[in-house]
Amino acid sequence: PEKLAAFQARIDAGEKIEPKDWMPEGYRKTLIRQIGQHAHSEIVGQLPEGNWITRAPTLERKAILLAKVQDEAGHGLYLYCAAETLGVSRDELTEMLLDGRMKYSSIFNYPTLTWADMGAVGWLVDGAAIMNQVPLQRTSFGPYSRAMIRICKEESFHQRQGYDIMMKMARGTDAQRKMAQDALNRFWYPSLMMFGPSDKDSVHSAQSMAWKIKMNTNDELRQKFVDQTVPQAEYLGLTVPDPNLTWNEEKGGYDFSEPDWSEFFEVIKGNGPCNTERLEARNKAWDDGAWVREGLMAHAAKKRAAKLAAE
């Protein structure tokens, strides 16, 4: 209890907690879950965009998309490393992802159906992710905070690329405009869901906020996202698929419809449009790759042994 108070005092003072510092079990567990889920999201997040790499319309777009997906794998790597400092290995985390014990962001259970979805994912999904992540640069756990700083830099670049794709489509042919609108129609509500249900319904939030693992409420961030995104949609000449969307002068923000939370909970339960495919793909990659991981480890062991023998 004294330790706990001292710990909280450090956090309140804005100090960073480092891996070798004492920390409450709850803090450690919550962080492992949160960083792990974030890492898994980067990994699974490769799939919906990877789905269009082989169909990218130009060499330039193909290169940009490849670079982006590569960045996501890199983010996964940073985050697994941050999680490892808390005493859990990447393989353990991976297995929890693969057997469903750990989750990833539910947005990646939505399919990418046209090239415009590459725009919408960058603009809306990365946009929402950044909204979540920017405050986390100031999170209390040092390695997590440092990972988020690196990640945020790249993500905002990705978001601009996404918006650029949307712009090209919106200024393009009729078919392209239709494609862009269709992508917005499909990704709008799932993006709003990315901030999670209203905090009124969330149990863990208060503790996480006290620990500075969570920096803002879900509703705050969602409002901020809507307020930022609606003018961008207008600039593109696209229509946000929400008949109730109106500017509220008084609160200085938009009023908007809540997403269908029953859909959100179905997706969490595994009933999203692509949950099965995503987990199948990751399980297949892992299982098919077992011989490669084992082969490379066996070779490394042989080399170490030979080196030792030579010494």
Binding site: L59, R90, E294, G295, L296, H299
Partner: protein, 253 residues
Amino acid sequence: MTTQDALFEYLLRLGDNTLILGHRVSEWCGHAPVLEEDIALANTALDLIGQTQMWLGLAGEVEGKGRSADDLAMLRDVWDFRNVLLVEQPNGDFGQTILRQFLFDAFHFDLLTGLTKASDDRVASIAAKAVKEVTYHLDRSSETVIGLGDGTEESHTRMQAALDRLWPYVGELFAADEVDAAMQDAGIAPDLSELSSSYHTRMSAVLAEATLVAPEGGFAHSGGKTGFRHSEHLGHLLTQMQWLQRAYPGAQW
């Protein structure tokens, strides 16, 4: 065949090799055996697509009909592609992918090294840029082939199977024809027979360390770099790669 025609053909060979191999490698995105490989494969694909932009861009310039690199990549049918058969072979398991990469990288590295001395500055400067990237590709694929060849029994067996499967596509890399001859005469391309001997020396060293044995017999498939007869795989690859451009002609992306 004029030198210009030969140069156009030759640049298509260079650009189609990197385009098709880059495409194949990019198919791995999100499905690699380990995260570091996801990153490395994406990186390799990215380099190859970048080189494609340069080679096909120059090809369009040399042709002089106003075709861009994208036009050449997205709007030709199978018979107009000039890549070697090796690079259009399907990914298979990771072993087949990395072995294909190694067989190509070793050739690619020597070829580009030769091309840095090309009498045509445009060619030389693209080669100089590309060879830096390919040095890294070759290091990496050699190392991985060695690691997996000399790893577990299973990894060894798979790598040997991949080598047996892909070896008949090596010969085409060095089969010189009139295009190659014209390019050599023009002081642009290196001598393929010299490349071949350096290739086989390197190959022997790496395969020995990997405890892999190249199959006997010199049979070699052909038809890719001349475009006479590609494999059935290329057409399927194009349906994916070109669909969007074909479906929405003239749109800007």
